[in-house]
Amino acid sequence: MMCFLNINEIRKDFPILERKIRGKSLVYLDSAASSLKPIQVVEAIREFYLIEYSNIHRGVHYLSQSATSRYEESREKIAKFINAHSSEEIIFTYGTTDSLNMLAYGYGLRVLKPGDKILLTIMEHHSNILPWMYISTLTGAKIDYIDITDEGEIDYDELDEKINEKTKIVSITHMSNVLGTIIDVKKIAKKIHEVGGVIIVDGAQSVPHMPINVRELEIDFLAFSGHKMLGPTGIGVLWIKRDLLDDMHPPRLGGGSIRDVTLDDFTFLDPPHRFEAGTPNIAGVIGLARAVEYLEKIGMNNVRRHEEELTSYALKELDRFKGQIDVYGPSSVSIRGGIIAFNVKGLDPNMVGGLLDSFGIAVRTGKHCAHPLHQRLSIDGSVRASIYIYNTKEEIALLTSALEEITNATIR
């Protein structure tokens, strides 16, 4: 296998990988839940708290102004990472769920009327279903879903039928957190724009794993989380295309977002600050920017190629267990990321996960906050292995070797 990344050097940046679990090396295949953190990100946060800390914005003292510069430089960094037009389009939130809720309340509540349609896919994470369900009860809009094919791809044939002049919002995942399916969001963006609607993209699983260019994708909103891309928890991003910034009402109001307040009225600051009421997760922003630097040094194309290689290898190995293990999602790695959900026939997925843990292998089990998808697949949960930059071919081999022992033990 060609190696696009110096994996050994990368792994040295993650001290947690030195841990032994029951005497066995940790094999961390749960990055879709949350990624591990390199020492550089932890040190950046630590240093900020120890020697640079202050609250930001409006301060006249050195520490405050220095912290403000760091914060706003981080915003610039993230804007460049996704090729936004400008940093004013980058709003810091607490994560993807927070970003999607902000959109539902700040945009959806404003534009949706009775009879309008919100279009999701059957693959969505609950964080991209529940806010819309609630907004639909408040506005009278209806929710519709794009189905998947047997291969776990979006049924693009449904688009012409599902997108019409009543469709005001399409809100979809870029990469399924269960199937790994990568959706052609640009194709869907074109369709929704033809009828005057907008497209919201849940980038929680895609932004950490592939190059993202919001202008090239022609999308309108993008949400993603810091903790899934080597950054800390409690920080995320909502990117809003600059033409739509004024169409969005800040759903959170308070200090730090206004220019002036009287007893009767108030005026907002310009974007992005009008959307960031309250003291933000300053250290989280610093940590996220450092994570972005780390990823940029590797190169997102290299990240993607590494995961394509490992995913391809994993799928090929899992194919040996045909009849014993069901693997979900597309077979082609060109349209899937490094997320592999599967089931061992005849065994509860939680039992498989518990057994893999006994081998030192960390995977996630259950329905992965995607109940409608599991209902669609007619399964009561699945095991999910997810890959990132620090995983190796040897670790995939350990996974399949463990699965071989497990499947052998299920033969009655």
Binding site: D348, N350, L355, D357, G366, K367
Partner: protein, 79 residues
């Protein structure tokens, strides 16, 4: 005094966080930490005994079959 925990793997509750297998893995950790022993009731039609044995083996625990009645088994995990 060692605690004795008990799980019936056939007792399924609604909700994805109430699965008895999840509780099993949590309880096994307590056994590994020396906090007690764990009695598990299971049906071999759902979980083969070999799987329960594998859990013990890979976690350096002892497994004793206390009862076997047709496909129903009760086992004891201890350190």
């Amino acid at each position: 005094m060692m605690e004795e925990y008990f799980i019936d793997l056939g007792e399924k509750k609604p909700g994805c966080t109430e699965n008895p297998v999840i509780r099993l893995t949590q309880m096994l950790l307590r056994v590994e930490e020396g906090k007690g022993v764990l009695k598990v009731a299971s049906d071999e039609r759902e979980i083969p005994l070999k799987i329960l044995e594998m859990l013990a083996d890979k976690r350096n625990l002892k497994l004793q079959v206390l009862e076997k009645n047709g496909t129903k088994v009760i086992v004891l995990y201890s350190k």
